[in-house]
Amino acid sequence: MKVTTLKINGQLVSASPGATVLEAARENGVEIPTLCELEGISNVGACRLCLVEIAGSPRLQPACVTEAAEEMEVQTDTERLKRYRRMTLELLFAERNHVCPVCVANGHCELQNRARENGMDHVRFPYQHPDLPVDITHDRFGVDHNRCILCTRCVRVCDEVEGAHTWDLSGRGTQSIVITDLNQPWGEADTCTTCGKCVEACPTGAIFRKGSTVCEMEHRRDRIRFITDARKKQEWNP
């Protein structure tokens, strides 16, 4: 099989044909931080954490949607990228009410992990402290918009994997909010199949199993990949 050869951080590496820069980096053990990306669903390039420098490109490119090309020279970890990533994370933390110590996902949160890994030790921007609702009308799950980072993983997994399209975004800009059906209480959303994929996909404590107590919510993101892989490879229908 033909492979793509490129340089990541000065190292010559090879990647599967058609692989994105992110996949190429992962295949070669290079970590690029992500938040909106989730294996098994489409990529939207929205969180901007995975931006990398590509020689010859005037703009930074999101590794999750940029295809690795022959002889490409990629830098994933320059000072400038680190600075931008820290600031992106600061913006996220300032945007809503991420009170880690009392969050159900404390200790199992991708946002928290990204902050730690990227050395974001404080937020220079004023916290916005919006007054956002919590919806636990669903029998089994809950959504706390205070902890939502609008990554839209729930929207995509529900649409692409489950096929229900219960979730979508409403509003725009900083007023954006994830909704179920016609912005109804989740418990009243007819289209929801209660499959729980959105719960597993959520990177933070925004979507959780009802009854979760502080620090208790662990997401099983591998379950989504399990389904999508099996489907792609037709594992059950040889």
């Binding site: 933390f93 009410n97 009170v99 880690c100 110590p101 009392v102 030790d121 404080h122 937020v123 220079r124 004023p126 916290y127 402290h129 919006p130 007054d131 956002l132």
Partner: protein, 197 residues
């Protein structure tokens, strides 16, 4: 703890550290006390010149480093932290309330503190409901609870709710790594305060 003459020669002077408690639950200080027997080591390395667990009432001058627990929530906190900043070499935001506002800042989603005060002291009171308002005895709440670094410059951040004792210890050891020189010199930070020796 012995009292050292602050005017002593720099080389001979023991590092002076302090801990301060703003709007926080005291959990960070408890975690500090969870250093347990290492506190004996600490008392060999430095003088704790000011702390809620000690009796000195006025925050002293020429403090080398201070651990600040809690967020800035009222005018008393504000006054104290400014004084602390002016008199200290290295200000360390100690725990999540100091760094992010944390649980203390949960009230910020309300437009004004008045809403909360009314709830607590008027709606939930059985006898002479009123919002405590004797100033300055009862200090005025700031409109928003603020992390320490949004009020004064902060030199280092120690995370956790509370920060685990071993991290407090490791930070203190870093600060006191060269006893005698003073923590401020070690931190390489001088801000707003008197020149450090």
């Amino acid at each position: 703890m012995s009292t050292q003459d602050p005017a002593a020669a720099p080389a001979a002077r023991r590092p002076r550290i302090a801990t301060v408690w703003l709007a926080g639950c005291s959990g960070c200080h408890m975690s500090f006390l969870d250093l347990d027997e290492w506190l004996f080591e600490l008392s060999k390395l430095a003088d704790v010149v000011y702390s809620p667990v000690a009796d000195v009432k006025e925050y002293p001058e020429n403090v080398d480093a201070v651990l600040v627990e809690g967020a800035v929530a009222n005018v008393d906190n504000l006054e104290l932290i400014r004084k602390v900043r002016a008199r200290t070499g290295a200000v360390i935001a100690f725990g999540d309330c100091a760094i992010t506002g944390n649980v203390t800042a949960l009230r910020n989603r309300f437009v004004t503190p008045e809403e909360l005060l009314r709830h607590a002291y008027v709606e939930e009171a059985d006898f002479q409901p009123q919002v405590p308002g004797d100033r300055p005895l009862v200090p005025e709440l700031l409109p928003k609870v603020l992390p320490v670094h949004q009020v004064v410059k902060v030199d280092a951040f120690l995370h956790g709710c509370p920060p685990p004792p071993h991290e407090i210890r490791s930070l203190l050891e870093t600060l006191l790594g060269t006893p005698g020189e003073g923590a401020a010199a070690k931190m390489g930070k001088e801000e707003n305060g008197e020149p450090k020796t």
